[in-house]
C-alpha cells in the first residue's frame, strides 16, 4: 500500500507524503495494536536516514525500506541514560579509513534487523550516525510487556558507514527525527485511546451488575465522559503538532512535539487506567483488549520521553513569553 514509503520523497523511492499521512497510518496501527515495526523502522530509523543521509544513501536505504526489502532499526538509546538526542557510551573511532563502533545500545526497538542505524559519540565530540550491518552486531531480542520486540545490541568494533558527512556532528538531524517520531507515537496512542474508549463504552452498556447495565451508574458514565474529553483534547494537540511538523521549522516542531507528548502522556494514563478500572477484573486479563491497549500506551509513553520529561523542558521556558499562540 506504500505505507512504508510515506514519509520519504519520491527521489528517495518513497511516496512523497508527510506527517499527516504518517499520522493516519500510525493511528490505525495503534487502534488495532498491529505488531508491525512502523514507528521503529520507518519513522525512527528511516527518519534518521532521511534527515542525515547523502543523496545516494537516502536513495538506496529508503528505497529498499519503502519497498519492504530492508529491515531497518535505530540503535540509539543507551543503558543508564534517559531520553537524549546524543550518544555517549557507544563510541565511534577511526581505524585507518574505517569507522569502528563499540558499546551497548539498549533498548533498541526491533533490533534484529538487516541494517542498523547506530548513533555514536565521535572522537572530536558530538554524535554521529552510522549504518551498520545487522550481522556485525551481537543482538539479543526479547518481547516487552506490550508485545513489542526490544533488543540489546552489543557492538565490538563493528564497521560503520557514516550517514552524511563523516565526522560531522549529527545531533540536530537526530533530534529532528526523534521529534517527528514523538508526534507519530502520539498518533499511535490516539488510536489506542480511541479503541480503549470504544471498548469501555460498549462494556458499560452490556455488563450487568445489580440487575442493571453498568451504564445505569452515573459515577461510571461521567468517568467515560472524562475519558472522551481527554481523547478530544489530545486529538487537537496531536493534529496541531502534526501541522507544525509539516509546515514549520525544527525549533517549532520540537516545541509542538513536546506539548503534544505531554498532553498525550497524561491522557494515555487516564484513558488506559480508567478503561481497566471500568471493566473490573476482566480488564486485567492478558486475553482482553483493554489491558493490552493500556500496556501499549504505557510503552509508547516511555519510549521517547514521558510527560514529566516534556513538562520539564516546557517549564524551563515559561518566563520567556506572555501567552501561547498556536499560529504564531
Amino acid at each position: 500500500m506504500g505505507a512504508l514509503g510515506l514519509p520519504f520523497s519520491e527521489e528517495d523511492g518513497g511516496m512523497g507524503a508527510g506527517p499527516v499521512e504518517v499520522g493516519l497510518v500510525a493511528q490505525e496501527v495503534g487502534r488495532v495494536l498491529a505488531p508491525e515495526p512502523y514507528l521503529a523502522a520507518v519513522v525512527l530509523a528511516g527518519g534518521v536516514v532521511a534527515s542525515l543521509g547523502t543523496d545516494a544513501q537516502r536513495a538506496e536505504v529508503l528505497g529498499e525500506l519503502s519497498s519492504g526489502n530492508l529491515h531497518l532499526a535505530l540503535a540509539h538509546a543507551e543503558p543508564g541514560r534517559r531520553w537524549s538526542d546524543t550518544a555517549s557510551s557507544v563510541t565511534a573511532t577511526l581505524v585507518g579509513d574505517e569507522w569502528r563502533i563499540s558499546g551497548v545500545k539498549e533498548p533498541v526497538l526491533h533490533g534484529d534487523a538487516g541494517t542498523l542505524v547506530v548513533t555514536a559519540a565521535l572522537p572530536e565530540g558530538g554524535t554521529g550516525a552510522f549504518l551498520v550491518a545487522g550481522e556485525s552486531a551481537t543482538t539479543t531480542t526479547a518481547t516487552a510487556y506490550d508485545g513489542t520486540r526490544v533488543s540489546r545490541v552489543v557492538l565490538d568494533g563493528a564497521r560503520g558507514v557514516p550517514l552524511g558527512e563523516a565526522g560531522a556532528d549529527a545531533t540536530e538531524g537526530i533530534a529532528v527525527a526523534l521529534d517527528r517520531a514523538r508526534i507519530t507515537a502520539c498518533h499511535e496512542a490516539l488510536g489506542a485511546m480511541e479503541a480503549a474508549l470504544a471498548a469501555t463504552t460498549g462494556y458499560l452498556r452490556s455488563r450487568k451488575q445489580f440487575g442493571v447495565p453498568l451504564s445505569t451508574f452515573q459515577a461510571l458514565t461521567f468517568r467515560a465522559a472524562d475519558m472522551y474529553v481527554a481523547v478530544e483534547l489530545s486529538t487537537s494537540m496531536v493534529w496541531w503538532a502534526t501541522m507544525v511538523a509539516a509546515e514549520r521549522d525544527a525549533t517549532a516542531t520540537r516545541e509542538a512535539a513536546a506539548r503534544a507528548a505531554l498532553q498525550v502522556s497524561r491522557a494515555g494514563r487516564l484513558v488506559g487506567q480508567e478503561a481497566i478500572q471500568l471493566h473490573g477484573g476482566i480488564g486485567m486479563t492478558a486475553e482482553y483488549l483493554v489491558g493490552n491497549l493500556k500496556a501499549h500506551l504505557t510503552a509508547l509513553d516511555h519510549l521517547l520521553g514521558d510527560g514529566s520529561h516534556h513538562l520539564r523542558s516546557l517549564a524551563q521556558g515559561v518566563a520567556a513569553y506572555d501567552a501561547l499562540d498556536p499560529l504564531a
Binding site: E106, R152, G211, Q273, K294, H302
Partner: protein, 319 residues
C-alpha cells in the same frame, strides 16, 4: 497465630513492621479472612478442626466468592449447593481466585436457597480442593503472570459438617469478612518501602525538581494515610472494623498505584526491557512496568474503589 490477646493496634503495628522489614506477611486468606470468620461464627468443633491448621499454614486457604456474573454484585452469585442426605452437592464456577493453584481448601459462598431474596439464600461452605469435581484453571493477567484462577465445581460432594454457622447465614459472614479484607489491603508500610526504594535506586534523579516534587507529594499523602490508619485501627473494637476503613482501601490502593507509576517513570526507557532478558539495565527498572500494570488490580479487588465510595457515601455520609 502468635497474637492471641493482642489489641487491634498491636496487631497492626506488628504487621506494619513485618512489611517494613520486607518479610512475607501471613497469608491474608488465612489470617485476615477465614480465621476471624471461624472465630466469630463457627461451632466449637469446627474451630478445633480448622483453626490450628489455619494458623500453622498446614491449610492454604483460597477465597471463592466472585463469579463471572457476580463481582461487585456479590450477592448475585449462582454456584449452588443442594442437600443430599447429610452432604451438599456443589455445582458452579468461581473466578479470580487468587493463588488458587496453591490452595488446599477454599472458603466459598454458595446459593442454598434460590427462592428467597438473594442475600438471604447464601451459605458459607468450606471445600477441600482435592475433592473430585473441583478443577482449577489458570487466568493470565496483563503483566504476563499467573496469580488468579477459575475454579469449577461439578457435582462436588461436600460433607454437611463443612458448613460454617447456620444455613443461609452466609451474607452476614461475607460482610464481616469483607470489612476485615478492606483493612488489610492498605499496606502503608509496603508502599513506604516501595517509595523509599525508588528514592534509593533513582538517587541521581532527585536533583530534578519535577521528581522531587512528586516524591514529596506522595510522601505526604502516605503520611496522612498512615496516621488515618492508626486512628482507624485504634478505634476498631470487638472485631468490627471502623466505618472509615473504606478510606484505607480507597486511598491505600491509589497510592500503591501512584508509587508504582512513579517507579516506571524513573526507569524511563529501561522499563521497556523485560525482566527475564539478558540486559545491561537494572532489574528494578525492567520489572517496573509489569509491576505498575499488575497494581491496576488493587483498585478492583476486595471491593472496587467505586464500591468503597458508595460505602462512604451511603453508610458513613448517609447519602
Amino acid at each position: 497465630m502468635g497474637w492471641a490477646g493482642w489489641t487491634e493496634l498491636q496487631r497492626h503495628l506488628w504487621h506494619e513492621e513485618m512489611q517494613r522489614a520486607g518479610v512475607p506477611t501471613p497469608l491474608p486468606f488465612n489470617v485476615s479472612m477465614i480465621g476471624p470468620v471461624l472465630i466469630q461464627f463457627a461451632s466449637q468443633e469446627m474451630k478445633e478442626r480448622f483453626l490450628p491448621a489455619t494458623a500453622s499454614l498446614d491449610i492454604w486457604w483460597s477465597q471463592g466468592f466472585s463469579e463471572p456474573d457476580a463481582g461487585s454484585d456479590l450477592a448475585g452469585l449462582r454456584t449452588s449447593a443442594v442437600r443430599d442426605g447429610d452432604d451438599w452437592i456443589v455445582n458452579g464456577q468461581k473466578t479470580w481466585t487468587t493463588l488458587g493453584q496453591y490452595g488446599d481448601w477454599i472458603f466459598t459462598l454458595v446459593r442454598t436457597d434460590p427462592a428467597v431474596k438473594k442475600q438471604a439464600g447464601i451459605s458459607m461452605l468450606l471445600i477441600d480442593m482435592t475433592s473430585p469435581g473441583v478443577e482449577v484453571r489458570p487466568i493470565q493477567l496483563i503483566d504476563g503472570g499467573h496469580e488468579v484462577n477459575e475454579v469449577w465445581f461439578t457435582d462436588v460432594r461436600v460433607p454437611g459438617e463443612n458448613l460454617v454457622g447456620e444455613v443461609n447465614q452466609g451474607w452476614t459472614m461475607a460482610k464481616f469478612l469483607l470489612g476485615n479484607e478492606r483493612v488489610g489491603v492498605a499496606p502503608v508500610a509496603m508502599v513506604k518501602r516501595m517509595l523509599g526504594r525508588a528514592k534509593e535506586v533513582a538517587a541521581d534523579q532527585l536533583d530534578d525538581p519535577v521528581v522531587r516534587a512528586r516524591v514529596a507529594e506522595l510522601e505526604n499523602e502516605l503520611l496522612a494515610l498512615e496516621l488515618t490508619t492508626l486512628r482507624v485501627v485504634a478505634h476498631s473494637d470487638g472485631g468490627e472494623p471502623h466505618p472509615a476503613s473504606s478510606v484505607l482501601k480507597l486511598r491505600g490502593t491509589e497510592l500503591q498505584q501512584a508509587v508504582s507509576e512513579l517507579v516506571v517513570d524513573l526507569a524511563g526507557p529501561a522499563s521497556l526491557v523485560p525482566p527475564d532478558s539478558e540486559s545491561d539495565l537494572p532489574l528494578w527498572a525492567r520489572r517496573s512496568a509489569p509491576v505498575y500494570l499488575n497494581y491496576r488490580k488493587a483498585s478492583i479487588y476486595g471491593g472496587s474503589n467505586e464500591i468503597q465510595r458508595q460505602i462512604i457515601a451511603g453508610t458513613i455520609l448517609g447519602l
